[in-house]
Amino acid sequence: MDTESESLLRRAIAGDEVAWRALVREYAPLVWAVARRHGLCRADAADASQNTWIAVARRLPTLRRADRLAGWIATTARHESLKVRAERGREIPAERFDVPEPVDGPESIVLRSARDRALWRAFASLPERCQALLGLLAQAPELTYPQVGRALGMKVNSVGQTRGRCLSLLRRRLAMLDIREESAG
């Protein structure tokens, strides 16, 4: 973690509201991504996110290694996501990553280009494990493989291999839709 981030963290611990908000803006996408990658619907992901930030605020002063902040937040988000999932327990809603229907709904407005729609369709067709891993890697590229492993409950030494397999599968599906990558991802 660079000096600026270190300073931000220390100021947040000291109760600086501006610093805390900056931390939230930086890591909220990570917390959200971990919750959603655990199969929580948006309402439940919101609960998990809120619980995560309360836990982070409560324990932040005990954080000794500032360079572990991202991984620590990701792990906290996983624990809170699992708790919410256990509480809801009975069923995992099927809301996640549905392929947009060809109607004038929000999806068709948001995904305006054929390329975007093809990529989304290819992503949505991947196995759930691949969606979870690639989604988290895409949304939280700052995480190391061990941190990704802990955040998703995967064996650390399988993260790299699984990433490779999932990316390869995604590229094959994109190729079937006649979409080519211009550079390696």
Binding site: A12, I13, A14, G15, E17, W20, R21, V24, R25, A28, P29, V31, W32, A33, R36, C41, R42, A43, D44, A45, A46, D47, S49, Q50, W53, I54, V56, A57, R58, R88, E91, P93, A94, E95, D98, G105, P106, E107, V110, L111, R115, D116, L119, W120, F123, L134, G135, L137, A138, Q139, P141, L167, L170, R171, L174, E181, E182, S183, A184, G185
Partner: protein, 137 residues
């Protein structure tokens, strides 16, 4: 195209963080300035319960035996919500909101699909002279 960068962009578009989540996260910072149980209770009280939890969840209602009387899903659509599902063929369906009741067209196979305002709803099924109604959802 770097596929992961593209994917990150699409996920931000398709699955944005609700503003309420960011507001709640920012409010949690109060715990750093006043770490008391009362503060935590205040933060938790800020949470508003969504009208429909986990939209897209399939719900079914019915009697203790036999086929369910009503199977449906609710999904947010724009500023409202879409209710879609199936009732026994020939049954009638009314979607009730706190402000009005709305009879929903049901096709000959029992399928229906309607957009209703956001907020709590309950569904009333009329079949063979009997009326059954869900609680508020």
């Amino acid at each position: 195209m770097n596929v992961l960068i593209e994917l990150a962009r699409l996920l931000r578009l398709m699955d944005p963080i609700p503003p309420r989540v960011l507001a709640d996260a920012e409010a949690a910072g109060l715990l750093l300035r006043a770490p008391t149980p009362a503060t935590e209770a205040l933060i938790l009280l800020r949470e508003t319960v969504p009208a429909v939890r986990c939209a897209g969840r399939r719900l079914s209602f019915g009697r203790h035996v036999g086929e369910p009387l009503l199977v449906f899903e609710v999904r947010p659509v724009g500023a409202g919500q879409r209710v879609a599902g199936v009732v026994p063929p020939g049954a009638g369906l009314t979607v009730r909101t706190p402000v009005r009741d709305e009879d929903v067209p049901v096709d000959e196979a029992g399928y229906f699909n309607a957009e209703v305002p956001a907020g709590p709803i309950r569904l009333r099924v009329t079949e063979g002279g009997r009326t059954s109604e869900t609680g508020w959802l």
